[in-house]
């Protein structure tokens, strides 16, 4: 069996585009608006969510036969919350400036619907290996949207790429101006909206076509 046809690869690749948590399931929009002014924060946020999601899926899937049904949500939440606090602590120890810029949004991964959603709908019904890949895939799908939005916003809003100026001075002298609107949260709404439109058009919108 070819690797790209394997179940594990499919669990990873499906949420990347076809079932992307942001552009298809419309989950996790709040943080996507808040942390995408700069590429750097978007990358760190995407990575943090991916790690949290992959390990929460793994843990919950491994425990899925022993978690008592009546308290499963609380158990899921404790696992997720612990992982988020852990991620926050690690960021504060090694990437202090970025963790300050992300401020409350790392902590708010706990309330990100993607994490709880995947635990409930996927990890509880699939083996750990598959759940882990599903977590990685959803995290990467979320992260890639974040990175794309942040790339556009940082480029148009501040004329920078990863903090380095890329718009030549000559442009500014010729009258080019950074688009202040891109630095505000509504800009992310518009970019995400355009992305969803594009994606639905390209994929032929199988659901409602």
């Amino acid at each position: 069996m070819k690797f790209t046809k394997s179940k594990h690869f499919k669990a990873f690749s499906e949420p990347l585009i076809d079932n992307n948590p942001i552009s298809m399931q419309m989950l996790g929009i709040c943080s996507a608006l808040a942390v995408t002014v700069q590429l750097k924060t978007a990358i760190v946020m995407g990575l943090s969510l991916t790690v949290v999601l992959a390990f929460s899926n793994l843990t919950i899937s491994a425990l899925r036969r022993v978690i008592p049904r009546n308290i499963r949500m609380i158990v899921e939440l404790s696992v997720i919350a612990s992982l988020v606090i852990l991620a926050d602590e690690i960021l504060r120890a090694f990437l202090y400036d970025i963790s300050k810029q992300l401020s409350v949004f790392v902590g708010l991964i706990i309330t990100n619907c993607i994490v709880m959603g995947r635990a409930e709908t996927y990890a509880l019904g699939h083996p750990p290996g598959l759940s882990f890949m599903d977590g990685l895939g959803n995290g990467a799908g979320y992260g890639s949207v974040l990175v794309f939005v942040a790339f556009v916003r940082e480029l148009l809003g501040s004329g920078k790429f990863l903090g380095y100026s890329v718009v030549p001075d000559a442009f500014y002298q010729a009258g080019y101006q950074n688009m202040g609107f891109m630095l505000l949260a509504p800009a992310a709404f518009i970019i995400i909206g355009l992305m969803v439109w594009l994606q639905k058009t390209l994929s032929g919108d199988r659901d409602h076509g």
């Binding site: 978690i67 308290i71 612990s82 852990l86 602590e89 409350v104």
Partner: protein, 245 residues
């Protein structure tokens, strides 16, 4: 084992495992985090006197080096006298001094104000005339991102530059954060003591104004010394406080 008992045991063991894990992580990473926080405070002290450029990345080493080169720290008692003994009673106030060409160019006082959701920590730098604000920074707060959280942004902090803590007659007037609309109606003489606030963050502004006023009145004896040119040069052994408060 009954269903309920099983649930309780499971919930308890989950809680114990999670808290153990977090305790170990928090304890293990604590020294690194404290070091980062200390460097961040030094960075904010430097930023308040304009020694940190907005468009440059600084490593922890850069910050420590810049700090050691430019900033000194003294302690004063409630009358504004420099205290060189280590006595901690009565409580002494730390003052950071920005030294340029052998003289004090600005003094920086730590701000610890009430905010809407938690304490606001920052620094207020005053020029050696004891009246003009050289800069204001915030390094720790719990205000709402996008609203009160804007106090950590440069555009807001830049509003403080050049404002005065005294009125035209030279009497102490502190500095207050007011709404743009109200700012426009103020007579010019009072505008030098007012800073344009943040829309949607009236309460944060109100608490911060009160906090700044309290701290500035506490430090007023020091400011008076600066206004009358009595603190420009310091005894060589005046340095008495830790680099971080």
């Amino acid at each position: 084992m009954s269903e309920n008992l099983k649930s309780i045991v499971f919930a308890l063991s989950t809680a114990v495992v999670c808290s153990l894990l977090l305790t170990v992580a928090a304890q293990g990473l604590n020294p690194l985090q404290r070091e980062n926080a200390a460097v961040d405070q030094q960075k904010n002290i430097l930023k308040s006197v304009g020694l940190i450029a907005a468009d440059r990345a600084y490593t922890a080493e850069d910050i420590k080096h810049l700090y050691a080169e430019n900033i000194r720290c003294i302690r004063v008692d409630e009358n504004g006298n420099v205290v060189t003994s280590d006595a901690a009673d009565p409580p002494l106030l730390p003052v950071y001094l920005y030294r340029k060409d052998g003289a004090v160019a600005a003094y920086i006082i730590p701000i610890d104000s009430r905010g809407l959701w938690g304490r606001i920590h920052g620094y207020l730098a005053l020029e050696a005339d004891g009246a003009t604000i050289a800069g204001f920074t915030v390094y720790k707060h719990s205000e709402t991102p996008g609203l009160g959280g804007e106090i950590e942004k440069r555009w807001f902090q830049d509003n403080f530059k050049g404002k005065k803590i005294v009125d035209r007659q030279g009497h102490f007037a502190a500095i207050s954060i007011v709404k743009q609309a109200k700012l426009d109606t103020l007579p010019a003489a009072e505008r030098i003591n007012a800073v344009d606030g943040i829309s949607g963050a009236t309460l944060t502004g109100r608490f911060l104004s009160a906090g700044l006023k309290d701290t500035l009145s506490e430090y007023e004896p020091v400011s008076i010394k600066f206004r009358t040119n009595r603190l420009l040069h310091l005894p060589a052994d005046a340095e008495r406080c830790e680099t971080t408060p």
